[in-house]
Subunit: 236 residues, 6 copies
């Protein structure tokens, strides 16, 4: 069940049962010429919905904005400051805990290092404030990148084979026909005002090989691994 | 077009035409026993989508969280601090302006005074920073409450006749069959830790009279008034 | 008794009796060509002094600065940021509570929506921190605008008939002889860098009809209503 | 002229002449059993008013709250956090500069080191932001303590001979008949939660010797020295 | 040259030549039973000193404190909040740029993800503020972990083979005789209040194999790679 | 023992004995043409090391950066904002207290008023948070300036006779041969963007008279006075 679709009463009844709440965090970010700007939201949204169904839990409304460094100057990226993101996650956790929630899984579709650090900090501070809160946090790409891909000349990354396949499985009509290939251009640790130069194609990997079939396999792979981890972590 | 559904390239092409961007701000808030927690998001989302179509503009992803005072202790309300909300709106405006957007309409479905003040402050500060930004901000309830309702013993408000009717028109399957009547209980300006006591029924108004038909009329009324205001404000 | 006029010993003795403390919040703000910049301070100061006498309470020193949006560019307005105002009110409440005060009435002479939201937030947060604090917050204009005025072509507002009359009653020597008439010019929800264009006369209403007599009546009306509310709220 | 007593028009006319604005910063602070809590406000208020008259300048409304360390637990002290104080002074300076003011004298009646540092920081930052702002900041006690006192067994300080005499000169009816003698008890640089133990009498010095006559002499001494300094600093 | 050891005049003369400034960031952090708490400072300090000599640059004073998550409860860890760390790095960069420095290399000895994100954010924001600043940021472990180690049953990490060897090379007298072996115990993405449970030995790797000789090789490897990167990045 | 040089285990063992921790706070600041930029760090570092040895305590790593007003534009000064400094000291105290430390002596080598106020505030707030923390804070110059100097035409201050002598005793090789004489040029309380004009020689006093012998005497004088104060304060 999605929290936004139920009433206050249904929420109260659900919380009494000690449900796991799944919080999907997305982004509005350039993902190459072929993928929609909401790519990073569609993935954790679908995953959270599936997990909530599996575990009889609740999905909190998708946060569709995140923090962005390397793509922040590309058309369509809407970026929060990291302190804003941390504040949002802090407030949502605080509200959920006050509402009686004690099991929370936060899944971020975007995997930028500063973005993840902001969420992690909010989560770590909450783990100290609320000693009885069981809190899990990851990006689905922590698991996705363990999926065994066929050999390729292209290292897979942002907007690449995995991500294109997953979106083909979830939102096929939003994926462009033209599929790019791209490589990360290393700047040797320089911090630059125009970090998009590291992504000449705006993406990393070979999206020409992407298929909905592969996407479904990866999505299943992630779902099954999440089910396994959650069973252990929450003893459910 | 929704920004999350288009690619970086489509966004870039759209921005070149000087589009109006519509930013819907929702909430996750208790709305009586009969309305879904996402009520305040469904309304501005639908309105923004319709206006974006009318004006060839773009709808930014819905922010599904807001600031809440009086309902913050009710089951299901997830509340941001006002400074968090202000930071989000500031960051989104900053990103959009850096992306080349110069026409922005922010519509909040939630109409709490502190919530609106937080958005207003972010907007006022942006209006000073960006002298060429044309920026309009309101809650759709600024217009909705001008709709001429039939006489009633119940003053209409949060979760009342108008809101129930509008959600019946937009998301009929999410509206409960049992429809409450409720009144605001005045606390004579006392600031209390349990402000929900002012809402014994969790809502204000007579939702028994609500119909999808009335909801459609109100939604049309708001849409037409918004079209009129936008034409004048943006000279389009 | 005004807190600034008594000694530490007299303060300690008074606090032992559980007094109501009245905190007047004023402003330094343009109020048309005819009213002094301190207009918003004189009104709550006089009201608080009268209430403190009535209830054997204490008046805290007037805060003579507030937050201003629409008049911020007019000559003489000195504006705080809303977070500054919130911090001040937070600190004053914290100090008073640490000093043993448990009954507090905050009255703001200025009624801007962002200004009031800042005070309200400080007050709401304090109501959660201090469960035994009885806290009332309003602007005297919440009551003043209920005073039945004679019919007029001018809607009354900032610097208008009520405010001019009240200052004529309180500080006659500070009111200019030339009395303006003015209307609010609606900008249809646009947020602009020069919001003073909504106030071509710098005030709203018909100050030509103002008299000290009317001002006294309004001031009495507010005082009596406040006495009634305080009796109920504080059971005194 | 006091800013709160003039109209927007009078303010605008005055600013055109390039006036010096005097900002008095007071405090609400325990000052021994004999002096009113507003002691630190009465002194800079009177000084600023006299200087404004001397130089044809403007006095901004007194800020009646400050930051307090050693007296913060004594009855009647109302203390701001230092960051709140810094924010207030920052906002007032910003507003005055936007209004066209380019000459500012800030006089604090309270002389606590953290309090003064907060104002100083706001002033230093402003001096960098506004290169054409001429800004002077001191506490009147920077000058008062240079006044040659008769020999005494008591080192003079907070609430002592000078301060009692000055308030006798300014607000005789607010000074108690019983006059204490007190000494500072050194804690050898320990930072303690109850710093009031350093002030067993709540004051430092010998107030039994205080007279209005002496107070007048000291106030004149400060006034004349200020006139001299301002002439040099502002070349007026 | 170390900045702390030269005079204002020598600094001024050096800056005229456009030197690279090296800023070492260390930490005070538990590093197993065998390594000193200052381990993360000794490494970048030595590296920065060597690089400053190589390039005729300046070493800024070592910041000996950082942000810590997983080791924060272990004896001896002194942790800053991430916002504090970000503020420090921001202030140091701002000061250096105002002083005329335009080439900066920041090397962090500690490699925690939130710690690095805090520095990265300060650096990214500076890269936007100062378009002519050439700024490089990394942890020496970005390079150290590329050093080809002999096969081992232990994955190398915090306080492991590399780190122990490097400290044996730099500060032999501070390394304990007893050398532990340890493994990271995975918590499956759970965020816990006692993250030290992931490090039963307080370190990760096999320190029994560590030698000063290996440490010197690794330090040389890092130095040479840094020299190569800096030549390319700064064209020196 | 210096904390950075011991292991986590040694730290844990030491803390069990209830040691005094000494935290030296230095600065990177212009000190005339003759003294190194690290002058303000060398002095408290040496003092803390000696005191830690005397009392069997621990020296925390030197913080080599502080807040600077008057010298901030001089070559080589690296300045933190006061809020950054306050945050650092707050975080270090919080960490130490969580680690079990209950006796802390903070010694700042730099004695600027805003710098000291920032540390003082962090310390005062900690004294309220941790009622069982015994906390002493001073600058060694609180004591140094009590050392009886020979008569001189130069009032001694920043970079003057005392400071030059002390550095000659501690770091003779870092003191320049050319020794300046300088006076503070009073600006009559003006807050200026270029406060270095108050220090035409960049220092205050007569450094030509400085000798290592005098420095040793002063350092001994400070050490002995500190030993005396600590014995009383900590009853050790």
């Amino acid at each position: 069940m999605r929290i936004e679709e139920i009433t206050t009463k249904e929420f109260a009844q659900s919380v009494k049962k000690g449900p796991i709440v799944f919080l999907p965090i997305g982004a509005t970010e350039a993902h190459g010429i072929h993928l929609p700007l909401g790519t990073d939201g569609y993935q954790p949204q679908a995953l959270c919905d599936a997990l909530a169904e599996e575990f009889g839990g609740l999905t909190a409304p998708l946060l569709p904005y995140g923090q962005h460094s390397s793509t922040r100057n590309m058309p369509g990226t809407i970026a929060l400051r990291s302190e804003t993101l941390r504040a949002i996650v802090t407030d949502i956790i605080d509200s959920l805990v006050r509402q009686g929630v004690r099991k929370l899984v936060i899944i971020s579709g975007h995997a930028g290092s500063v973005h993840l650090a902001a969420i992690r900090e909010a989560a770590e501070a909450a783990s100290v404030r609320y000693q009885d809160l069981k809190l899990m946090f990851l990006t689905d790409y922590d698991i996705a990148y363990k999926f065994p891909l066929p050999r390729s000349d292209f290292r897979d990354g942002h907007g690449g084979l995995i991500e294109t396949s997953r979106i083909l499985a979830l939102k096929p009509s939003l994926v462009g026909k033209k599929r790019p290939q791209g490589r990360f251009e290393d700047r040797r640790f320089m911090i630059v005002a125009n970090p998009e130069i590291c992504y000449p194609e705006g993406m990393v990997g070979d999206s020409t090989k992407a298929t909905a079939e592969l996407g479904n396999k990866i999505n299943d792979f992630i779902f099954r691994e999440m089910v396994r981890l959650i069973r252990q972590n929450f003893e459910v």
